[in-house]
C-alpha cells in the first residue's frame, strides 16, 4: 500500500478517532487535498465498525480440540467400506442383464456384510478430554440396554489405569456402563449400559468408582 509521505502515519489514528481535536481538524484539511490519503481513507474508515463486532476477550477465537481431526478421520475410515458397497451395487445394476442371479445375490450379500456393522449402531460419539485423551464410541441396542464399543487413545489419569464409562441420562442420572483397563492409555472394549436409544445424550469416562474428574466426554450423534 502506498503511503502519504507527510501524513501517512496519521491516517489510521484519524480513522479510529485517536487524534486530538486540533490534529483531527488539520488532518481533515490535508485529506481534501491529498490524493493518496483520500484514496486510502475508506478502507481505514471501515475498521472501527469491524472492530466493534468483536470483544477483545474473544481473541484469539476458539480453536477446535486436537482430537476432532482424528475423530473425523476415524469416522470416514469406518464409512469407507459402506461406500465401496454402494459402488458395488451401482456396478451390479449396469451389469444386471449379463450377470447370473447367483452372482447378484453374492454381491448383495457382500453389501450386507460390509455395511452390517454400521447399520446396527443407533448412534456414535467422539469423546475428548483436556489432557489429550480421545475415543470413539459406537452404540447399539441389545436386550440388556446399549452395547458401547469404545476405542480410546492416550487415556490417562486413573489410579491403576482403571476407568469407568457413564451414560448421562436425560433426567440427569449417571448410568454406569462398567469399568475397563487402558494399559498404555489404549483401550478397545465393549461394555453394556442399562439405557436405551434416546434416553441419554452424553458419555463420560472417569476413574473407576467415581464420577470425577471427567477424563473425557462426548455428545451422542444419533
Amino acid at each position: 500500500m502506498r503511503e502519504c509521505p507527510t501524513h501517512g502515519d496519521l491516517l489510521a489514528a484519524y480513522a479510529l478517532g485517536a487524534l486530538e481535536p486540533d490534529e483531527a481538524a488539520a488532518m481533515r484539511r490535508h485529506i481534501e487535498t491529498c490524493a493518496i490519503c483520500s484514496e486510502q481513507l475508506p478502507s481505514m474508515r471501515s475498521l472501527p465498525g469491524l472492530l466493534d463486532t468483536v470483544d477483545m476477550a474473544d481473541v484469539p477465537p476458539p480453536e477446535p480440540p486436537a482430537w476432532l481431526e482424528e475423530s473425523l478421520l476415524d469416522q470416514i475410515a469406518r464409512e469407507t467400506p459402506r461406500d465401496g458397497g454402494r459402488r458395488e451395487r451401482t456396478r451390479r445394476r449396469v451389469l444386471a442383464g449379463a450377470l447370473a442371479a447367483a452372482a447378484a445375490i453374492a454381491v448383495a450379500a457382500l453389501v450386507i456384510v460390509l455395511s452390517g456393522e454400521d447399520e446396527q449402531a443407533y448412534a456414535r460419539a467422539s469423546l475428548g478430554g483436556p489432557s489429550g485423551a480421545r475415543a470413539y464410541a459406537r452404540l447399539e441396542s441389545v436386550p440388556a440396554g446399549t452395547r458401547v464399543s469404545l476405542k480410546a487413545h492416550e487415556l490417562a489419569g486413573a489410579p491403576g489405569n482403571r476407568y469407568e464409562l457413564w451414560c448421562i441420562a436425560v433426567d440427569g442420572r449417571w448410568v454406569s456402563g462398567g469399568s475397563f483397563r487402558a494399559p498404555g492409555g489404549e483401550a478397545e472394549v465393549v461394555l453394556t449400559a442399562a439405557v436405551g436409544a434416546g434416553e441419554y445424550h452424553r458419555i463420560v469416562v472417569t476413574p473407576e468408582g467415581t464420577r470425577a474428574p471427567a477424563l473425557m466426554r462426548g455428545k451422542l450423534q444419533y
Binding site: M1, A12, P64, L68
Partner: protein
C-alpha cells in the same frame, strides 16, 4: 506447490489414505469451528457441526461445482444448514437464546457470526504490540497522546505503531475476503 481446495475436494471420494480430507480440515476446520461456536455459543455443539460438515463434504463431494462457488463458500453453506437445524431443535429448550424465524434474518445472524470470527482471527494474527495499541486506541478510546503517556512510549512510536497495526489488520482482512 499447494494443491487447490477444489482439487482436494474432488479427490475425496477416491482418497483412501484420508490425506485430502486431513488437508481440507486443516485449511478450513478452524474457521468453521470458530463460526459454529459463535453461532451456537456451545463448543460441544460446534464440534458436532464441524465433524458433520466434513463428513457430508466427503459423502457429497461429487455434487460440488467449482464454477458455482468456492470450496470455502460450499463448506460454510453446509455448516449454515447444520446450524439452522441444530438451532431449530434447540429452540424447543427455553435456555437457548432467541433465534429468528425468518430465513433472511437467520442468514444475517450467520453472516455476523462469520464476520466476528474473521475479525477475531485477524486480530489474533497481529503481534501483541499491535493488538495492544488497537485495544487502547479503539476499545479503550484513548488518543495517541494518552496512549503515549499511559504506556510511557514516545508519541512518534505510538503513531507509527498504530499505523502499522491498522494497515496490517486491513491487509489480513483483505486476504480473508472481508471487504467492508
Amino acid at each position: 506447490m499447494a494443491r487447490s481446495d477444489a482439487s482436494l475436494l474432488h479427490q475425496l471420494p477416491h482418497d483412501r489414505s484420508g490425506e485430502a480430507l486431513r488437508e481440507l480440515y486443516r485449511r478450513f476446520g478452524g474457521e468453521l469451528f470458530g463460526f459454529a461456536c459463535n453461532a451456537l455459543g456451545d463448543r460441544e455443539a460446534a464440534e458436532e457441526v464441524v465433524q458433520d460438515v466434513f463428513a457430508r463434504a466427503w459423502r457429497q463431494a461429487e455434487r460440488y461445482d467449482e464454477d458455482r462457488a468456492s470450496v470455502r463458500t460450499w463448506l460454510f453453506a453446509i455448516a449454515r444448514n447444520r446450524i439452522v437445524d441444530m438451532r431449530r431443535r434447540a429452540s424447543a429448550r427455553p435456555a437457548v437464546a432467541a433465534w429468528p424465524q425468518e430465513p433472511e434474518e437467520q442468514a444475517q445472524v450467520l453472516e455476523q457470526a462469520v464476520l466476528r470470527w474473521q475479525v477475531a482471527a485477524a486480530l489474533a494474527r497481529l503481534t501483541p504490540d499491535h493488538r495492544e495499541v488497537i485495544r487502547l486506541a479503539h476499545y479503550a478510546g484513548l488518543s495517541l497522546r494518552e496512549i503515549s503517556e499511559h504506556q510511557g512510549i514516545p508519541l512518534g512510536t505510538v503513531k507509527s505503531r498504530l499505523s502499522y497495526a491498522l494497515r496490517s489488520l486491513r491487509l489480513i482482512l483483505d486476504e480473508m475476503g472481508v471487504e467492508a
